[in-house]
Structure formats: C-alpha cells, structure tokens
C-alpha cells in the first residue's frame, strides 16, 4: 500500500495496483502520467480520477452509459492499442464532468472520453470520431431525452 494525498479525501492509502499509467497524460495536463480512480464514499455513479502525485488535481468522472444509455464509443483502433486493449470490451470508458456554480447544470465531456484498460492499468484520453459528441453534454438534459424516448 502507498499513501497519497487526494483532493476529495486528504491523505489515504491506496494499493499500488490501483495506479493507472497515462503515458500521454490528459489534454492540458500532459505532465501528469499517473492517476488513481477513487470511489465516492456513498453509492454513486460518479467517481474521482485523482492525479497520483498532484493532490489538487482531481476530476469527477462518470460512465457515459450512466446518463446516456445509447452511448457508443467511437475512437481510433490505435487509441485502444495504445493502452494494450484489443477491443472496446476491454476498456472502461469515462467522461470528465464539469461542475459549475449551479451543480444541476453539470456537463460531461464526450468529445474526449477517458479510456482505461484495467488489466494493463493503462489509460488515455481519446478523441471521439463521432461528431454528435461534444465537450459539454448537460447530464440532466441527456437523462430527460433518454427517458422521453423510452
């Protein structure tokens, strides 16, 4: 176990096997190469993507299917290869969430999905090839749309 300082929970212990390598970092944070995923304290579809050695750097993330049932991952096959995955089934897909002053207006970034291969413990931020996905999807609006459609 290693001790790390996190934005949401302060100092905590994590298993080394929880550390995920991001060889290319995340856009805008290219120097940060290691992250850990932290669960919320309570049951929640949201998780934290915490930089391993930058306490203040943590993103809130959510699986796109948790607010958009019909979400389909559409990235270059090379994005999967980069993290040692053979098919989309090998990877976990997350969207980074932006939470404004009014949290009900929170948005998820589907233009730059975060892919994680849990087996290889490697991750990367890919760029969606599908142009219907943008950097700001209002999460509550998307749920509404899905439920209206049925």
């Amino acid at each position: 176990m290693v001790t790390i300082v996190t934005k949401p929970f302060g100092q905590i212990e994590v298993d080394e096997r929880q550390i995920i390598d991001f060889p290319e970092g995340i856009y805008g944070f290219e120097d940060i190469k290691k992250f850990v995923i932290l669960d919320a304290k309570e049951k929640s579809p949201f998780k934290w993507l915490q930089a391993y050695d930058e306490p203040d750097l943590a993103f809130v993330i959510i699986r796109p299917v948790d607010f958009m049932m019909q979400y389909e991952l559409d990235v270059m096959p090379e994005d999967l290869e980069d993290i040692g995955a053979k098919s989309p089934e090998d990877v976990l897909v997350f969207a980074i969430v932006t939470i404004p002053e009014d949290p009900s207006k929170m948005t998820a970034n589907l233009q730059g999905p975060v892919l994680i291969n849990p087996k290889a413990r490697k991750g990367k931020q890919a760029i969606s090839l599908c142009d219907k996905y943008t950097v700001r999807h209002y999460i509550l609006e998307e749920i509404k749309k899905a439920q209206v459609k049925g």
Binding site: G28, T98, Q125
Partner: protein, 88 residues
C-alpha cells in the same frame, strides 16, 4: 514554420505517406483533402483546444467533500422525477 504557396489541385507531402491536397479555395476558406494511413489521427485543431479547455474547466470545478453526494442526489431525484412524469 515552413510556409508554402499552393494552388487548387496542388498538394504537399508530409513524409512518404501523408498527402494534403488543396481541393478548393473560396474567399477566406480553403478546402483540404487529406490522404493518410488509417493509423494517423486527423482532427481539427479546435477539437484539441476545446478538450484541453474543458479539462481545465473541469479541474477548476469547485468541489467540496460533499460534492459527489450532492450531484448524486441531484441525478437520482432527476431520474425519479422523469420516470414519474413519463408514467403520467
């Protein structure tokens, strides 16, 4: 930066296998054709900039210890409300 003047239907090569063709020029807009191996990712520059900007905005989200609980509650309430509405 290398600067080259090109006319319509002329092209430039980047390495051996990437060709950029000037398809059309209208006013201040240039239409480009890009021939590249499938493994080369081609995206508009704005996409990178937008993702980068959004990541920074996400990182600056004001989060408190209860934030995840708060947004989880908002999500749950919203889901339940919508299910109720669709039943009516």
């Amino acid at each position: 930066m290398l600067v080259l003047a090109r006319k319509v239907n002329e092209s430039i090569m980047i390495g051996d296998d990437i060709e950029i063709v000037i398809i059309d020029i209208k006013g201040d807009q240039v239409k480009l054709g890009i021939k590249a191996p499938k493994s080369v990712a081609v995206h508009r520059k704005e996409i990178y900039d937008e993702i980068q900007k959004e990541n920074i905005a996400a990182m600056q989200s004001k989060v408190k210890p209860d934030t995840l609980k708060d947004i989880t509650d908002i999500l749950q309430t919203h889901k339940e409300k919508n299910i109720d509405n669709s039943k009516k």
